[in-house]
């Protein structure tokens, strides 16, 4: 996706509801290649609200992934393994 000229873009989206639904399908990886092409390549180039929303959604997901994941404590891993190994013992 290129950096479109913001002055040339529509400032209102006529299909906001459908677009929000499409946007969700796209960020969730559930849209078809044709839907993606139409929305990401054609629609975003000309529609300012959708362009902004798309980048906002992507940024939120990135932030979630960076900030809301963690590692299991080693003691927990050890404890689970120990319990299961003792179960496996004859």
């Amino acid at each position: 996706m290129s950096n479109p000229d913001q002055n040339q873009m529509k400032q209102e989206c006529q299909n906001q509801r459908e677009c929000m639904e499409m946007l969700q399908l796209i960020v969730d990886g559930e849209a078809s290649p044709e839907q993606k092409e139409h929305f990401l390549v054609h629609h975003l180039e000309e529609c300012m609200p959708c362009y902004k929303n798309y980048h906002l959604e992507v940024a939120i997901r990135q932030l979630l992934k960076n900030k809301c994941t963690g590692q299991a404590p080693q003691e927990l891993i050890d404890s689970i393994k120990a319990k299961v190994i003792s179960n496996l013992a004859p």
Binding site: Q16, R17, M20, E21, Q24, D28, G29, E30, K52, N53, H55, L56, E57, A59, I60, R61, L63, L64, K65, K67, C68, T69, G70, Q71, A72, P73, L76, I77, S79, I80, K81, K83, V84, N87, L88
Partner: protein, 196 residues
Amino acid sequence: MELEESPKQQYSDKEKSNIFNNEFMPHINSMYNFAYRLTLDQDDSKDLVQDTYLKAYRFIDSFQQGTNAKAWLFRILKNSFINDYRKKSKEPSKVDYQEVESYYNSEEVDRQITPDLRVEALKDMIGDEISNALNSLDVDFRTVIILCDLEGFKYDEMAKILDIPIGTVRSRLHRARNLLKEKLSEYAKQMGYKNA
């Protein structure tokens, strides 16, 4: 996916050990994170993950090799949470989905579809803002965001993990993300972003 309904396998001890170590244990970090985000308590989350893994081991003959181990484990964890933890927790009663679905289908949702949150404001959220915002959501909304945005489950997998129709997955996600954005937009305002 079902613990009880799947056709039973007959694994040898060696096969069980292989499945457990190579297909179940690699998901431990995701499982712990899911448990922590559900219970919001470190001790409870450790207990929940341990219970889940021991249950998974006990019912390992119901797991079909080649199917999605992560989804299978997440479903067991979610059910254990509902059965063992949710009852005793002090969480307010769950959201009335009838109300949520009708909200989603109403015209109102179009008007306030997105709070005017900006990407620049998000870039300055380098602390716990997003984590706090996520944790502040009702547990059912929190869950769909974790499954979809953090763990990358597809809608059909989420529907199976949560025992809800795909349409409900989609509408719940939509609503959850709007609530998350509202929360983030409050933080952005506190950080001094005007009209955020």
